[in-house]
């Protein structure tokens, strides 16, 4: 199964989308013949709004799209990119699939682990970084490839990574 850290969403603050997000959701809905089809895009809006998707946020999405909260939660836990708990300011995503593996992804990951003193799925105490492992992200010719938040950084090596970790706020 697509591996997720938590199947049960932790609670957060009551969720209400700000007006610009509401407007985006209306535009999204106009592109599909069913409300349910807007689920993935609306969950993206939720994640962009709050940085992660709390139980309350999922329930709000369910209410807007007239879906059961159980359906929304089933979908949320199937996909790996929705954050089901708060993550650090920067999400370090290491590809460990075959081409990156052949190019030393394992060593890079180990280097980062040691430097930050955290393991996969964990966040540094200062809340700056969360480390996760991802499967092939289509950067195999520039292996080892990785993403930090929404952007590719490839090819990556320990000294480049050190410099980046230094410079990121």
């Amino acid at each position: 199964m697509t591996s997720r850290r938590y199947a049960v969403l932790p609670a957060g603050r009551p969720a209400e989308f700000p007006p610009d997000a509401r407007a985006r959701i209306e535009r999204i809905l106009s592109r599909y013949p069913t409300k349910q089809a807007a689920l993935l895009p609306v969950l993206w809006v939720a994640q962009e709004t709050w940085g992660w998707i709390s139980r309350e946020a999922a329930e709000e999405v369910a209410r807007i799209l007239e879906l059961s909260p159980a359906h929304v939660s089933g979908v949320l836990t199937f996909y790996t990119m929705y954050n089901l708990e708060p993550v650090g300011r920067h999400l370090l995503q290491f590809c460990t699939s075959i081409s990156c593996h052949l190019a030393g992804a394992g060593g890079l990951l180990e280097h980062c682990r040691r430097r930050l003193g955290i393991d996969l799925g964990q966040t540094t105490a200062d809340g700056r970084f969360t480390m996760v492992e991802v499967e092939c992200i289509a950067g195999c010719d520039r292996a080892p490839s990785m993403m930090i938040d929404d952007a590719y950084h490839e090819p990556m090596d320990p000294s480049k990574l050190d410099a980046l970790l230094e410079s990121l706020p």
């Binding site: 069913t34 993935l40 993206w44 081409s99 195999c140 010719d141």
Partner: protein, 439 residues
């Protein structure tokens, strides 16, 4: 000699993504010709059939033939076209390049294909990680609406079409076409029972055609320069057209390369225009020719190995997504197989018991052999598990894909597996070097 690029012709051109440069290069002229030049949808489909174009997403199904499966009478239902931009097969990175560098080439092909299918609504299902690609594509779509290539009554032809970018959220199985359809409907991306096939009952209960990014790009060129021109490119009429190859692994120059379909594997690995040989002069040990799902080939098998659908089928592997992953003589084959098994174990959608239970089991057994804890019977155990997963007993071909690297690596490198189990360590590779010192 390297041939003129077709699909990558505009890559590297300044502002290749912008509609003004696309128009300056003759872009959307083909759309104008087809929509306002008296072409019927049937004539477009016929042209695509004649070109011999086969799907570039993995299965290699003839595109025009697939379009022909949409029922004549759709009983009032709309027809949907879905562009498969999920690109998640390990080793594959061509669609990302096509979308990030030349989005209008794909969009023109998508609108032309939609016209052939009498389809007024299409979606691009793009993997969630392609934040940049999705932004580039959205900008291109906005430009196309502004210039009247999308929307109502395109170029006064009476044909209308809307395109929407739909972002996935991290799940390899959504690349499988019925998994993609489920995901687009706002569900878990779990593949459907077939039949009915999507061309009859697809997304929202309506006839649906799913085509890969590169396939749609090819459609643009088939209609621009004609089916005969397209069919003459490549090794033969069943393996025709220009093709993108994704080269990665232990070569000097990994990258996306375009060549006529049927390029020789040795040319791709060693040719000056392509991979320029093995890094550090090492020897080839094994090559995966079509992404993680394809059976591995040995160094001997890559002699006289045309990279096309039939050339690789003849070697009992497949072209798949044309992801060529090269492993040198220092690669521990058990380690590579373990890594591939990890992927499949993570990505099984969990619907079918043999796949849900089998993929992590394969990974566990491989990991223990790799870690030097293998038992005498483990290699046979891997084969037994694999044989209980494959041969079409599951809902989709994912399970068959998952066993391909296991069975092919055991079949071709059985001695290395045996060495691992007997000596509790790698025969070659970085770990073998460390162990040799500490032994």
């Amino acid at each position: 000699m390297k041939s003129e690029p077709v699909l990558l012709a505009r890559v590297g051109r300044e502002r290749s993504q912008a509609i003004d440069t696309y128009l300056a290069d003759g872009g959307y002229e083909t759309l104008r010709k087809v929509l306002t030049g008296g072409w019927t949808p049937e004539a477009v489909t016929e042209e695509v059939k004649k070109s011999g174009l086969r799907g570039r997403g993995g299965a290699g199904f003839p595109t025009g033939v697939k379009w022909g499966f949409v029922p004549k009478d759709t009983k009032g239902k709309p027809v949907y076209l879905l562009c498969n931009a999920d690109e998640s097969e390990p080793g594959t990175f061509k669609d990302r390049l096509l979308m990030e560098e030349d989005p209008h080439q794909m969009l023109e092909g998508q609108i032309l294909s939609a016209f052939a299918l009498r389809c007024h609504t299409s979606y691009v299902y793009i993997r969630g990680e392609f934040f940049h690609g999705a932004r580039v594509l959205q900008r291109a779509i906005d430009e196309a609406y502004e210039k009247g290539f999308l929307g109502e009554n395109i170029l006064g032809s009476g044909f209308s079409h809307d395109v929407t970018v739909h972002r996935g959220a991290g799940a390899y199985i959504c690349g499988e076409e019925t998994g993609l359809i489920e995901s687009l409907e706002g569900k878990r991306g779990q593949p459907r029972v077939k039949p009915p096939f999507p061309a009859v009952v697809g997304v929202f209960g309506a006839p649906t055609i799913v085509n890969n990014v590169e396939t749609l790009c090819c459609v643009t060129h088939v209609l621009k320069r004609g089916a005969d021109w397209f069919a003459k490119i490549g090794r033969n009429e069943k393996n025709s057209g220009p093709k993108l190859y994704c080269l990665s692994g232990h070569v000097n120059r990994p990258g996306v390369y375009e060549a006529p379909m049927g390029l020789q594997m040795k040319e791709l690995l060693f040719g000056d225009d392509y991979g320029r040989g093995m890094k550090d002069g090492r020897k080839v040990k094994a090559v995966i020719p079509g992404g993680a799902s394809a059976a591995m080939l040995t160094a001997g098998e890559i002699e006289d190995c045309p990279l096309d659908f039939d050339g690789l089928a003849a070697k009992k592997s497949m072209l798949g997504s044309a992801a060529i992953i090269v492993m040198n003589e220092d690669t521990c084959i058990v380690d590579a197989a373990t890594n591939l098994a990890k992927f499949f174990s993570h990505e099984s959608c969990g619907q079918c018991t043999p796949c849900r239970e089998g993929t992590p089991w394969l990974h566990r057994v491989l990991s223990r052999i790799e870690a030097g804890e293998g038992r005498a019977e483990d290699v046979e155990l891997l084969e037994k598990i694999s044989n209980q997963m494959g041969n079409g007993i599951t809902l989709c071909v994912f399970a068959d894909a998952a066993i391909a690297p296991v069975l092919s690596s055991i079949g071709k490198f059985r001695d290395e597996y045996r060495y691992h189990v007997e000596n509790k360590r790698c025969l070659v590779g970085p770990r073998a070097a460390v162990e040799a010192v500490t032994a």
